[in-house]
Amino acid sequence: MTEILGLAFMHNAILAGVLASLACGLIGSLVVVNRQVFMAGGVAHTAYGGVGLAFFLGLPVLPCAVGFTVLAALAMAHASFGRTERADALVGIMWAAGMAFGIILMDLTPGYNVDLMSYLFGSLLAVPTSDILIMAVLDLAILAVVLFWYKDFLSLSFDAEFALSTGVPVRLLYTLMQVMTAVTVVMVIQVAGLILVIALLTIPPMLAELFTSSLWKMMALATLASLVFCLAGLALSWHLDLTSGASIIAFATAAYLGGWWMQSWRRRA
């Protein structure tokens, strides 16, 4: 184990796991309690358009994908806010359109892109130091926003109509939540890949919700659970030579099923 921890790229992998876990714990909890999982899935797949754009233009992937995905999230927030009908269909269109845009740009990019698979399935062991710094800045921004407007986010998530009647700027916070989801998704793509990102965004909060009675406790426990899943998945992938993203999600799913079974057993007892 000490041999693994001595490797330089492993330091980056662990740091990326810690930073992604914080974002997943905070924003994943908001996504789950607001029933925005499908929307987050749409945002995640739209991010592929940003990845394709970065490859096509020869730009750094993380900043380009963040910018592209935030714009897509703003469009989705505008299209879905307050809609009770067809919001899912609109998200579905943007989901597929973002993917298609990314694939076409990849096709048009000369040469063979070996990094393509790492964005689809994640490559925690290959996160560069420059991306770690960007992730740290984005994490701090997310933490500050969630802490500063915690009560408003809580009110919006519990009962949006009542929140509006007490003067909470519901539309602005809803949009802010989608933007933070976009930023988180792009960060977590490095860890789990865009196909599996939704699992890391939902499983830790779902597990935390089983054992907590407040949103901030759910966020804290989800962050901790996400960190454990990342480190355990990383160790698993190292020893068994498996894809790191898939190992993390497999571990998280097993933990959630265990937690759910434990809660059911406690309720019956």
């Binding site: 309690v33 607001n34 029933r35 802490l147 500063f148 407007w149 915690y150 009560k151 408003d152 809580l154 009110s155 998530s157 519990f158 009962d159 949006a160 109509e161 009542f162 929140a163 509006l164 009647s165 007490t166 003067g167 909470v168 700027p169 602005l172 919700e209 907590t212 009675s213 407040s214 949103l215 901030w216 406790k217 759910m218």
Partner: protein, 293 residues
């Protein structure tokens, strides 16, 4: 504990009596609290309210009844300032609804509340405290002052839910949830309480308990309660308004024939529903006997 605040149904099931409300009518009795003057409102091209006039005075307990889609909830949203009338004026406590919003308590249908949300009863009530300062105010950080927590506990005592303050909201029964939502509206010490379909998701026993609570609250606060249920009864309802695109207001507990015609449409005397509708009109005139302890 005063014996006249025993909830008849709850006490029959061994539950504790309701406490004396601490609120006092903040507006002089008889002063207009809600005034709608020639109000019309449309969603896209569908007109849901047309030339509506309504006055609710301080101390009143008004039931607003009508069919689904008749414009009842729109009326509540206009009073809260969540919607702007297409024509006419809305004044609440003598001012624009947005200005008077901090003095209005709102109890939505609890169907709007997220189920299985991780929140305790006390924290749910604390959400009713008015937002202070603008968007960039520091008051939105996590954590509450002890004075705010005390206020929330006082509100929970008023609805007889203080013992469950630490319990998760999602494990409560429908009636208990509705009481917590009433406490959330009371925590800001409002001058007016607006209820939107308060009994739509609770069982008959829960309905009776809730109406007993509303009766007690109506001694100290102006209440407007919207319901599609014509059998909605409370001994303390002082006025009724029927709304179905237009509005007819009546000071008294009875539904008048023109109100029933507005709700159900006009019909001839041979209609088999005639006797049933006549029977309904007497529902609001009958007093429910409150069990004395």
């Amino acid at each position: 504990m005063p014996s006249d605040h025993l909830c008849s149904t709850c006490s029959g099931h061994g539950l504790s009596p309701l406490p004396e409300p601490k609120l006092r009518l903040s507006t002089p009795p008889g002063q207009p609290v809600i005034e709608l003057d020639g109000v019309s409102f449309s969603y896209d091209n569908r007109e849901v309210l047309f030339d509506v006039n309504l006055t609710v005075r301080a101390g009143e307990f008004m039931a607003v009844v009508g069919p689904n889609g008749g414009g009842k909830t729109t009326l509540v949203k206009l009073a809260l300032g969540l919607l702007k009338p297409g024509r006419g004026t809305v004044r609440v406590l003598g001012a624009d609804p947005l200005v008077s919003r901090p003095a209005v308590g709102y109890v939505p249908q609890h169907a709007h509340v997220q189920p299985s949300f991780p929140i305790t009863v006390l924290d749910a009530v604390l959400l009713g405290l008015r937002r202070k300062g603008g968007l960039l105010s520091w008051g939105h950080w996590p954590g509450y002052r002890s004075a705010d927590r005390q206020k929330a506990m006082d509100s929970l005592r008023m609805v007889d839910m203080a013992d469950l303050s630490g319990r998760r909201f999602d494990v409560l029964s429908g009636g208990q949830k509705q009481r917590v939502l009433v406490a959330r509206a009371l925590v800001s010490e409002p001058a007016l309480l607006l209820f939107d379909e308060p009994t739509s998701n609770i069982d008959p026993q829960g309905k009776i308990c809730l109406f007993d609570l509303l009766s007690i609250l109506s001694e100290s606060i102006t209440i407007v309660m919207v319901s599609h249920d014509l059998i909605t009864t409370s001994t303390r309802i002082t006025s009724v308004a029927a709304v179905n695109r237009r509005l007819i207001q009546h000071h008294g507990r009875e539904l008048t024939p023109d109100m029933l015609a507005l709700i159900y449409g006009t019909h001839d005397a041979t209609c088999p529903m005639d006797e049933y509708i006549k029977g309904l009109s007497s529902v609001f005139g009958e007093s429910r006997q409150r069990r004395q302890p």
